[in-house]
């Protein structure tokens, strides 16, 4: 992976490291629980887990301020937890209950929070890219300095609307950061089988958009690159592209037999590149936290996730009258 590494001597604080550890662990444990509930038939339809990619959203959320917006694809649970949406509301939406963020009417792929400036959760591959640029358009129109993070995968990177959006975003200097979460597989098709392009961020250069490849398994590298991109956008210099080299441990969705990659490849990533283990090692090796400290965090996270699962099971299904509500604003 030719992506940028985090600085050799990181000046990251203990508090930040503990925060990243906690937030990444929450996503992982939450997703494991979601996978379990899916297996029990409590979650239906499509369910795309974020396990393995946690450092990307946690590192970028560390660069945001109030009013910044985010929008992503259907692999959205991690983004919601990272921007501060409650685990209970997300899990209850997965089970299709009235306590969910969309009152049970959206599901795994369609959740939103006006309060946390999270604009979905989109099931059509690539659609969130112009939509995200539109959020940035509104901020620029109103004259504030907020930025929008538009996340999409290496698969979506081959959709035409992405390049229509690059063209207008640069033309109009929109404050949008295009975050390509390159996990190397578009469902079951590897990047090498989809394109001859060596990098995906490099395509933005044709439109005049600067960008770079980042080690997306290293939360410190993500945070550093994010800070640079945010500064570029907030200063009114237009869009920026971050190609996050990451990896998903689980299948594309719950019904993915994963025959397109070897078990060894997955295991190697888990053993050598795991984002959570990385921060855990940093904390322990530098003496910033003890095993006991981390165990306490682990237990807290487990409790939050278990409570969310209990809530998601107990929250009632939507009233039948909800069928006909919210069709119009």
């Amino acid at each position: 992976m030719a992506a940028k590494k985090s600085p050799e001597k990181s000046n990251v604080s203990k508090d930040d490291l503990l925060k990243y550890y906690r937030e990444m662990l929450l996503i992982r444990r939450f997703e494991e629980k979601a996978g379990q509930l899916y297996g029990m038939g409590l979650i239906g339809g499509f369910c795309h887990l974020y396990i393995g990619q946690e450092a990307v959203v946690v590192g970028l959320e560390a660069c945001t301020k109030e009013g910044d917006k985010r929008i992503t694809s259907y692999r959205d649970h991690g983004h919601m937890l990272a921007c501060g949406m409650g685990a209970k509301g997300v899990m209850a939406e997965l089970t299709g209950r009235s306590g969910g963020y969309s009152r049970g009417k959206g599901g795994s792929m369609h959740m939103f929070s006006r309060e946390k400036h999270f604009y979905g959760g989109h099931g059509i591959v690539g659609a969130q890219v112009p939509l995200g640029a539109g959020l940035a358009f509104a901020d620029k129109y109103k004259g504030n300095d907020n930025v929008t993070f538009a996340y999409f995968g290496d698969g979506a990177a081959n959709q035409g609307q992405v390049y229509e959006t690059y063209n207008m975003a640069e033309l109009w200097a929109l404050p949008v950061i295009f975050v390509i979460e390159n996990n190397h597989y578009a469902m079951g098709t590897s990047q090498a089988r989809s394109t001859k392009s060596e990098t995906l961020f490099g395509r933005g250069l044709a439109y005049g958009i600067p960008g770079e490849q980042v080690d997306g398994m290293d939360v410190l590298a993500v945070q550093a690159a994010g800070a640079k991109a945010v500064a570029h956008c907030r200063a009114g210099n237009g869009p920026y592209i971050l190609e996050m080299m990451t990896y998903r441990y689980r299948g594309h969705s719950m019904s993915d037999p994963a025959k397109y990659r070897t078990r060894e490849e997955v295991q190697k990533m888990k053993d050598e590149k795991d984002a959570i283990e990385h921060v855990r090692d940093l904390l322990l090796n530098a003496g910033l936290a003890s095993e006991d400290d981390l165990k306490t965090i682990d237990k807290d996270i487990k409790d939050i996730v278990n409570e969310s699962a209990e809530f998601a099971k107990e929250s009632p299904e939507p009233e039948l009258s909800e069928l006909y509500t919210n069709i119009y604003a």
Binding site: M40, P130, L135, Y141
Partner: protein, 452 residues
Amino acid sequence: MAIEILMPALSPTMEEGTLAKWLVKEGDTVKSGQIIAEIETDKATMEFEAVDEGVVGRLLVAEGTANVKVNTAIAVLVDAGESLDARAAPAPKAAAPVTAAVVAAPLKAPMAITSKASADWPEGTPMKTMTVREALREAMAEEMRDNPNVMLMGEEVGQYQGAYKISQGLLDEFGPKRIVDTPITEMGFTGIAVGAAWGGLNPIVEFMTFNFALQAIDHILNSAAKTNYMSGGQLGCPIVFRGANGAAARVGAQHSQDFTAWYAAIPGLKVVMPYSAADAKGLLKQAIRDPNPVIFLENEIMYGKSFEVPDIADFTIPFGKAKIWREGTDVTIVSFGIGMTYALEAANLLAADGISAEVIDLRTLRPIDYDTVLASVMKTNRCVTVEEGFPVGSIGDHLASTIMQRAFDYLDAPVVTCTGKDVPMPYAANLEKLALITAAEVVAAVKSVCYR
């Protein structure tokens, strides 16, 4: 404590599967994430990972067993050192699913239906003559003066002054921040406009014609129309998509299609198609103020037609209210948009033959003013619909079905639907004329339902 491992659902539709192979045996220690079995679903053979850690106490289902129902216990995990027989813990119980009762909509009794049609402005209101084009422009300009978040986006809307001159002069008045020329990139700028609406603006998107909106229809349907519902009411989309719809003249099949019935089929959209300049103005102002996505279908041939428009400071027309252009007693003709040209012309010709036609302009196709149509049909007992679109799945089909279900006993003849022909629009002048609906065809349809 013992934990039961249940047969997992590995696809949205899986109800049972084959336990193809165990990769662990009783007594083995299992780690979270370890692959413990291969399970064959309807789609593929999948690896099945353990969620919890422990020692395999029992394998309850032998490998090779087919038709294992989802949620059947297939193995028991125990803690290290715990007895293999200690399988006391019950399987986690799922909350009982509630089955939604399917409630069929009761057939409404065909009675007590009152027309919603009423005058759009008081008697004695001063009037001015203007074209549909001028009315549309005035509506946008007035709303932009009132609300700084209203902006117009599209191809050639600014410097070029509008491909059909609808936006002429707007760039001079409002500047390039609010009158935004886009590259020719419908899918991209439509997505950007929808995002901008979520971000707090009230965009008006001009499609040079609705034929080109096909490139953007994913954002119109999947992004704009459905998100309020999918977000449980959090994310409405206040946006207007407007532009020329239907046939112009001699522009061939790709540039001559009426999309009314397509958009009218989509819950979450509102769909408007004005005929007169007064309706164009009042309905467009209403559309810009509506908190929902509105499809506003114009017609190139109508742009230059002049009508009387009320000279009122703040003139709007609510959606879902049809207009009765001509009262009659023998037959109801229902139309909208440019179809009204043929409907009204036919009514004149029919009057000369002694047939009194009531002519209704629906004006909005979602919502539809069913009550005004039904009240009229209950009076005249006959109905002919007129539109330019294709015959299959037309607005007329929908009206015919509604009238049959709600006013069957009042009908003295089948409802006849007049539409464009079931062919791509030809280029040759004589064939194009044949493909389009004509007043003569409407007259013939009315005579057939009147048995004359």
